[in-house]
Amino acid sequence: MGESIRVYAAREIVTMNPSNPSGRYVAVRDGLILGVAHDPAEFDYWGKYEIDDRFAGDVLVPGFVEAHAHSLEGLFAETPYVGYFDRLRPDGSTSPGSATLDDVVDRLQSVDAAMTDPEETLVAWGLDPIYYPGERANKTHLDRVSSTRSIFLLHASGHVATVNSALLRAQGITAETETEGVVMGEDGEPTGELQEAAAMMHAGPVVASLFTKMTAESTWWNFGRAALVGGVTTMTDLGSNLLSDPALLTTIESVVNDDRFPARVVSYAFPAALGASYQADDVVVAMQSLKSRETSKWRLGGIKLVADGSIQGWTAVLNPPGYSDGSRGIWTVTPAEMNASVPVFHAAGINVHCHCNGDAIVDAFTDAVELALRRVAWLDHRHTVQHCQLATSAQLRRMANLGMAANLFANHLWYWGDQHYEQTVGPERANRLEPAATAQREGVRFALHSDANVTPLGGLHLIWAAVNRVTPKGRVLGPEERISAYDALKAVTVDAAYQLHMDREIGSIEIGKRADFAVLSDSPLEVDPMAIRDIAVRGTMVGGVVHEAPRVA
């Protein structure tokens, strides 16, 4: 006792606690929820309290839980953005999308004009050439921005960059450069496109500085700001090298445990940080040694595996009949390796999340989990198929039988839905993309995710995408896979917490849980479904601490 009780009044509170679904008042003490009621008199039980009206005009929902994001989201917070879609930035501003390549050039020209040091390289990100049919972005576009300043433009995929002639010159990239991925034009000269890591390394110090910045404190603070503007109060860093980088955890601790940092972070460790041919037993020991450093705001969630590439990169591994050209995608670990490591992690009680974009990978990971369960009967493992974009009914049934969870990449429906329908996997598989309704029918508890920075962090867009399944061209992809706004909200709150083993303490507004709320202008359950993504996030509360979202005129 001793801590004072604060009762927050709201226009409406959506609790996601089925036994007490709504209310108008929530009582908070010492960062924990004492209860939700329609009448504050119910809180007399607890003694003296103070009513706080700051949210009286707002709707409170459980803080969104993002079970698949990357701290990389914070890296580009202050970097000019030239993507196709409007993008909400961590400072609360919105960077407008670029409808054409000319718009990209315009935007970069204004960035260039605002730079004072002529020697400084202009770095921008977010270019998505799939949206600009016709001429491929190349050095000549960027030369219109500057013929003297080096320009490095990272694509949305993160796998490709386009640079200008000044950068090619400064870094000595010429017709003689041998590296595969340094694209040469018909004239035999570099076009300015650098594909994949080795080719991008030619761009020189600018690339190294991006790597260095990846784990900097400023990146982590911006990751938190991105969570705040998206209403996210708990997020994963789903794939961290912390097992081999002790300094990284020190950075995370100093930022995340700060009261001003507006989110809880759950790190999932890449076992390959210990080497591509790591011993699973060594990973278990390394994981266990970090457990003591957990706090209420930082958790070591488990292991992250990555088993294939992406659908839009044609590297997600598909079962037959594969892609239209007969290719099948690229494995990044083998089924044998998964069968060797997953049972070891499982036996040690470690939750495993595996990146499985293609359906063939879903089979392989599920095989490994089944093997683990034959050996050790840990029934509450909640091993999760991450992305799970193309899973079939049969796969989801099997996952349900084995106690597995799914995390569906709902934002893909909007950001690449048309491309999947027209180009990558064709209509039938595009229509079952992110099979939320099938998962529900087959009894798999699922979450929805952004994979930030691949798409922006934020619960509302995920709900919107899963409820409407519309594409930029106006298709409704697989109307049978649409789910209700309630079920979608559940998927970005309590069911996302479930797969992180955190639903006991977060994910609903319920007595005994942590006081983590998203403060919204309207209820996603009340507005027109197509307007869900337009609801304003006014701020969040994390463990009783209020964080106001920045307002930008």
């Binding site: 030619h202 020189g204 081999s244 940080a273 041919s277 063939a360």
Partner: protein, 315 residues
């Protein structure tokens, strides 16, 4: 990494070789041999995992985090994370290294890893892929991963057909024939327990200056010949030669003065040849030189063909 300014102009680029191959092909064993018996070279071997390479304790001079220094001047680094960022450290290491050998993980495409060897300060010298004579055909036929296994082989400069002692001679011949059908023009070296002469893996030390050391007894007999020429060489004739080298020639390396007096570096690893301007540090010589390594027949054939370009055996 730093740009060309930091790539040490005037310092010859550091040779870079990739060792790849599917899980179980014997990469770690081969790398262990390489570190143990480096033939006087200072090699940096970049591995996925120290444990699997299992370096003999008496060879270890010091162990500092990601790097094990050996008493013979070699180092072994485990660089799981930011591999690319660690490359400048290898390039700038003092005393300088003679060669960087990078292990590609079992499912990685070794050719893609090799692209790091084309960055400033490095020189890609070969993509070598190991294949387990006993299992490679099964792996290549695997309905799930077979396409990736085949791609590794298709993009290799040189294939080491390992563990040939575990199969009958007929089976070994069968696998080799299958490999040559899968990869037209494949260059195949047979090996037992990952034992491959270092001159075949990494070429001759010091840019073809030294006579090769005597090679140990080996299931595949190799011959080395050093050939020199006084007169300048006609470029088109040289390229025609490089286009049609015998299948059993494994390496050809040297420096050649062209008719326009430019010095070119010739490098053949397996089925891939490169002809590029020689680094300035390597042109202070009076005669063109080529060192050929391969089967006796192949080396003899090369010797007779370069005789037409003015080369004769080093006496």
């Amino acid at each position: 990494m730093s740009g060309p300014a930091g790539s040490g102009r005037g310092v010859p680029p550091l040779p870079f070789t990739v060792i790849g191959g599917f899980l179980g092909a014997g990469k770690s064993t081969l790398l262990n041999h390489l570190l143990r018996d480096a033939g006087g070279r200072r090699i940096a071997v970049v591995v996925n995992d120290f444990g699997s390479v299992n370096i003999d304790a008496e060879l270890i001079a010091s162990h500092d985090g990601d790097t094990i220094a050996l008493t013979n001047g070699c180092i072994c680094c485990s660089l799981a994370g930011a591999f690319a960022l660690a490359l400048p450290g290898l390039r700038d290491r003092q005393p300088p290294l003679d060669h960087v050998v990078v292990e590609a993980s079992g499912v990685a495409d070794p050719f893609t890893v090799g692209q790091y060897g084309t960055l400033p300060g490095f020189r890609l010298e070969g993509v070598i892929v190991l294949a387990d004579a006993e299992t490679i055909r099964d792996h290549a036929a695997d309905p799930r991963l077979g396409h990736q296994v085949r791609r590794q082989l298709e993009r290799a400069d040189l294939v080491v057909l390992n563990k040939v002692d575990l199969v009958t001679p007929e089976a070994a011949a069968g696998v080799e024939a299958w490999l040559r059908e899968l990869v037209p023009g494949a260059r195949v070296v047979r090996a037992v327990d990952g034992e491959v002469p270092i001159s075949v893996l990494l070429g001759e030390l010091g840019g073809a200056e030294r006579s090769p050391a005597t090679e140990p007894a080996h299931p595949h007999p190799f011959v080395t010949a050093t050939l020199r020429a006084n007169a300048p060489v006609h470029r088109a004739a040289l390229e025609a030669l490089l286009e049609r080298l015998p299948d059993r020639l494994l390496r050809l390396k040297g420096f050649v003065r062209l008719e326009d007096n430019r010095w070119m570096e010739v490098q053949v690893v397996g089925r891939r040849w490169r002809l590029r301007a020689a680094p300035p540090s390597d042109v202070a010589r009076d005669r063109s030189v080529l060192v050929a390594i391969g089967s006796g027949e192949a080396v003899a054939e090369v010797a007779s063909r370069v005789a037409a370009l003015g080369f004769s055996h080093d006496r």
